[in-house]
């Protein structure tokens, strides 16, 4: 690969990130939640493409399966239980806009010290005990051709175990919130009058 190839690669990543900004702004503007959910599926698919362009193929596979697949499905499931249209907000929230601009400005100020994109000598990429060790020694130590797999399952196996514990806990949480649904809605003081009438009609 020569310099032109590097430039083209960088341009691809830039264009994809710009597209992601456009999709995110679209999600802000939309009042129809179903369209917003479908746009977020498109967003996940685009981000999988960004990850391929950034050489993170394993992350791209996970994002395409989990981000574009599972999370879109559970969002659609939630919409089927709740409402599809968001209540329109008549006023814009200028306080929020100011907070967001200040935070973004501070973060952009922070990026000025960062190594440029693709720098092989940056601390993260040249550390002899982390990245370089995994790339040079894992063939001998673990003997798996995919370095990401050997780091995930062997060097950082406890991380993955912790992740499994988190997913298990979240699963228990979802089951206890939805799976064992209580049917004692009548004595519920928090219900609105309209709902109470509706339930009385159902009971009759």
């Amino acid at each position: 690969m020569n310099v032109d190839a590097i430039v083209i690669e960088n341009i691809i990543v830039m264009v994809l990130l710009t597209l992601l900004i456009v999709v995110a702004v679209g999600i802000i503007m939309l009042n129809d939640l179903l369209t917003a959910v479908i746009l977020s599926g498109l967003y996940s698919l685009l981000s999988a493409t960004v990850f391929v362009a950034m050489d993170a193929v394993d992350v791209a596979l996970t994002e395409a399966a989990v981000g574009a697949g599972i999370s879109t499905i559970i969002l659609l499931g939630t919409l089927s239980f709740t409402k599809r249209i968001q209540k329109p907000q008549e006023h814009n929230n200028y306080v929020a806009l100011v907070i967001v601009c200040i935070t973004g400005g501070a973060l952009i100020y922070g990026t000025l010290d960062l190594p440029s994109y693709g720098d092989p000598n940056s601390p993260a990429n040249s550390n002899p005990q982390l990245a370089q060790h995994y790339l040079t020694e894992s063939k001998k130590e673990i003997d798996i051709p995919n370095v990401v797999t050997s780091v995930l399952a062997s060097y950082r196996g406890y991380d993955t175990l912790g992740e499994t514990a988190v997913v298990f806990t979240a699963g228990i949480g979802v089951l206890s919130l939805l799976g064992l649904r209580r049917r004692r809605r009548k004595e519920d003081p928090l219900l609105t009058e309209k709902q109470q009438r509706k339930q009385q009609n159902e009971d009759n």
Binding site: L17, V37, A56, T111, P115, P120, P145, N146, A170
Partner: protein
């Protein structure tokens, strides 16, 4: 490459993160807030994975080094062993974990939203607060 172009990716990532942040604090709809949360998360993912990218690099999966037969330069041995540059695998591993945990968080949040809708009949934050205030007033009247 020009200095500001080298930082364009970081800035785009920050804009994406701030878009998610704005959805989270300015929109009252709870499902919209969860979508904003996931947009904010993906911004962080691009930042991490972008840090691990190495120029001219390829995905960190070992290849057999290619032996190039370079007849034009006529090196004595006739063959040059090409070194392969790999991108940094460590950010990829961290982000793999983060994606899965992010979806678990999202599922839990959405389950909470479904329960809130069953109780309150609304998923708008201001409506829920109004119903709460009404309920507290009723309790005070009973006393």
């Amino acid at each position: 490459m020009v200095e500001w172009l080298a930082l364009y990716n970081d800035w785009a990532v920050i804009v994406i993160m701030m878009a998610g942040f704005y959805i989270m604090i300015a929109r009252y709809n709870l499902v919209k807030k969860i979508i904003g949360l996931s947009i904010f998360q993906t911004g962080i993912f691009y930042f991490y994975v972008g840090l691990g990218k190495v120029e001219n690099g390829t995905a960190p999966i070992f290849l057999e080094p290619k032996v190039i037969d370079d007849s034009t330069t006529n090196i004595a041995a006739g063959a040059v062993e090409q070194t392969i540059i790999y991108s940094n695998p460590l950010p990829h591993v961290l982000i793999l974990t983060a994606i899965v945990v992010g979806v678990a968080t999202m599922a839990l949040g959405l389950a909470l939203i479904v329960r809130i809708y069953e109780k309150y009949g609304s998923i708008e934050e201001d409506d829920i607060q109004a119903i709460d205030n009404k309920f507290i007033c009723q309790l005070d009247d009973k006393k």
